[in-house]
């Protein structure tokens, strides 16, 4: 096959004509499709949609409308309910029609809209008794005001508008709360709806922040949505089902939908996450993080302790786990019996010493893989520069009687090179956690082949290309990158087959 190609192209280059140009045009046109068709297969069945900030809001409004069309309660209440169910419409409907509605409203911290007309809570009696003309005292600022100057939620706790505004501003700006702000009264957990917030807040900055918080919680709570992790990109990706598949944002950033990291084929998210944490372990920042923070045992968010009390309540509005800072266990058992977290455990200490021995040899192993991973990462960075240098080359070739479309193969070659580098990078992460077996040996062989072919391509593009005759370059480059592509495909297919057939065994480090 390669041989055939050789002959064909030698002919071409010797004899440029418009016909040949057309042929190549066809060829070039076909090429991207055919070469990436295997990849497309995976991408194709993974449907995703890019939502700009505006679209996110309208999508949120649509969700609310959709539910409202059925349940027919105020939109603000629907929003709180939906947020309570993490924007899972089906779950909300199910609970709404199957269960105890009053209980549902209590759980979601709203007053049932069906009830509000019937019973006015007792708290208001003091105000209503005072009648509209009389003066009442706002319990926050202690100022006496005509009762019409006071406002409140369905729970009946009323405060003056100035205090409400201040209260909401503090909650929004200082504590970053959005949908979870509750009534200012003591022990009242009724949530403030968005319409009330928007009517009470005047400052556009606060309004904007509030809207951000609301959309943020909408995207973060939603299993089928994720923010594009690229810096300064405000888009979100919406998928039909959640999976570890690549998503391509309109900003050009390609990332894994499941974990948000750069697309990391062939290694799986869990292992990549472990790997990244391990790699970061040596930096100063992570030393500080390790010394001063812990992770919430439920949602894994990093927490810094700033008070003396060991009873922690996760501030992540979607988590709120109760746990003990010392042992990271749930707080519950600490209440009933005296906790074990103050006692030094001899067994644990011995285990720790053994682990230390083990970790020395593990370190050697880690350094082996880390070196290679870092090396490919570095190369990948350098090779991005190749785009500039091949551009010069492409212009040069165009001056030598080649059409624009004919020289695009160089660009394609660098694309392939970068793809291979990225794959290679992550194969070392995969290999680091892999236990040795027959399949892993095959994997390593594949890895070696891909590495060899990638290095050859890289070397050619970087160095040899300058010394080659222009006429030879095209054929040589194409041979090389096609070989790289095929090696990459072989490696990936093998890994995926292994996932399907449970070949891979992991070392838990």
């Amino acid at each position: 096959m390669d041989l055939d190609d050789d002959i064909l192209y030698e002919d071409d280059s010797g004899n440029e004509s418009s016909e040949n140009g057309d042929d190549q045009f066809m060829e070039m046109n076909m090429e991207p499709e055919s070469s990436s068709s295997q990849k497309r297969d995976e991408v194709d069945d993974f449907q995703f949609e890019i939502l700009t900030p505006d679209k996110i809001v309208s999508h949120m409004v649509d969700c609310i409308k959709e539910v409202n069309a059925v349940v027919e309660i105020p939109a603000t209440t629907t929003r709180i309910l939906l947020n309570h169910f993490r924007w899972d419409k089906e779950k909300l409907m199910e609970r709404y029609y199957d269960g105890d509605q009053d209980k549902l409203f209590t759980e979601a911290h709203v007053i049932s809209p069906h009830r509000s007309i019937v019973s006015k809570p007792k708290k208001t009696t003091r105000q209503t008794a005072a009648a509209s003309s009389a003066e009442v005292t706002c319990e926050i600022c202690f100022l006496s005001l005509p009762s019409k100057g006071l406002t409140g939620l369905e729970c009946g706790h009323k405060f003056c508008t100035l205090c409400w505004t201040e209260y909401l501003t503090t909650k929004i700006m200082d504590e970053g709360m959005g949908q979870t702000i509750s009534c200012a009264a003591h022990k009242c957990d009724i949530l403030v709806d968005d319409a009330t917030v928007m009517s009470l807040i005047r400052d556009p900055r606060v309004k904007l922040k509030y809207q951000h918080l609301i959309t943020n919680s909408f995207v973060e709570c939603n299993r089928l949505m994720r923010w594009c992790p690229a810096p300064d990109c405000g888009n979100a990706v919406k998928v039909a089902y959640s999976d570890a598949k690549p998503a391509l944002c309109s900003c050009g950033h390609r990332f894994c939908f499941a974990c948000g990291e750069n697309w990391h084929e062939p290694v799986r998210c869990v292992w990549l996450k472990k790997w990244i944490r391990k790699c970061d372990d040596d930096s100063e920042t992570s030393n500080w993080i390790a010394a001063n923070t812990k992770e919430c045992p439920k949602c894994r968010i990093t927490i810094e302790k700033d008070g003396g009390c060991n009873h922690m309540i996760c501030k992540n509005q979607n988590c709120k786990a109760d746990f003990c800072w010392v042992c990271l266990g749930p707080w519950e058992p600490h209440g009933s019996s005296w906790y074990n977290c103050n006692r030094f455990d001899e067994d644990d200490a011995k285990k720790a010493r053994d682990n230390q021995e083990l970790s020395r040899s593990m370190l050697q192993r880690y350094l082996f893989y880390c070196n290679r991973y870092m090396n490919h990462m570095q190369s990948l960075k350098f090779e991005h520069k190749l785009y500039a240098s091949i551009k010069v080359k492409m212009e040069e070739m165009q001056q030598h009687n080649m059409s624009w479309i004919e020289v695009q193969f160089l660009h394609k070659a660098v694309d392939v090179l970068c793809q291979c580098r990225q794959t290679l990078m992550f194969t070392y992460v995969f290999a680091f956690y892999l236990k040795k077996n027959n399949q892993s040996i095959i994997f390593e062989d594949n890895q070696k082949d891909l590495e060899n072919s990638t290095e050859t391509l890289s070397e050619f593009l970087e160095r040899d290309i300058t010394s080659e005759l222009l006429v030879d370059i095209k054929q040589k480059v194409q041979d090389k990158y096609r070989y790289c592509e095929s090696r990459r495909k072989v490696l990936l297919d093998h890994v995926y087959e292994g996932y399907d057939k449970d070949w891979w065994e992991y070392i838990d480090i």
Partner: protein, 200 residues
């Protein structure tokens, strides 16, 4: 400081000064500076507790965002209590943290603290050493708390045997406060307390 905070403190001040509790010498607040950012509080130990007859001084700092954020309160007087650090005086009380509500006042805070003295929450401890003693050696806890109240807060009941043990260590050249802390930590076992002081 924000206008609303100053206004609140001024009004609250009147409220506390007028209230019945002050008349009965149970709680008290006074200004430390003119800007209303720092106050000094005082609460009396509640009756039928080891803190009876004692008076505890509190440092109250009013944040810029008061009353939407809680005041920062800590004990200036040393105290032996599961929810109050015996070292720093830091307090573990929900209403001073996430359960704070804007409608609460200095008066309610001081009364809550008084209530905390009467009913400790050893399952939600600030000082793990004290909490452990509270749960496992309650009689010793009561005596220790009384002793601390007597020494630091003008409590009237003396615990002579504890006094003697502190004096014993003091005569050996140890700082009396350090000796008291060590003894309290080790359930008043003199040898272990000495070991503790020498090791730390």
């Amino acid at each position: 400081m924000a206008n609303i905070a100053v206004q609140r403190i001024k009004r609250e001040f009147k409220e506390v000064v007028k209230s019945e509790e002050v008349a009965e010498c149970h709680i008290q607040v006074e200004l430390v500076n003119d800007s209303f950012t720092e106050l000094k509080g005082q609460i009396a130990g509640p009756p039928d507790t080891p803190y009876e007859g004692a008076t505890f001084n509190l440092e109250i700092k009013i944040p810029e965002t008061y009353p939407f954020n809680p005041p920062k309160v800590k004990f200036l007087t040393a105290i032996w209590h599961p929810n109050i650090s015996s070292v720093t005086g830091a307090i573990c009380l929900d209403i001073l943290k996430d359960q704070w509500a804007a409608a609460m006042t200095l008066r309610t805070v001081l009364l809550s603290l008084q209530a905390l003295l009467a009913a400790a929450e050893p399952d939600d401890p600030q000082d793990a050493v004290v909490a452990k003693q509270y749960k496992e050696n309650h009689p010793i806890f009561l005596k220790t708390a009384r002793h601390w109240a007597n020494i630091y807060a003008g409590g009237t009941i003396r615990e002579d045997d504890y006094d003697n043990r502190v004096i014993q260590l003091k005569n050996m050249g140890f700082d009396p406060h350090k000796a008291r802390v060590a003894l309290s930590t080790h359930n008043w076992n003199v040898e272990r307390a000495m070991e503790h002081i020498l090791n730390y």
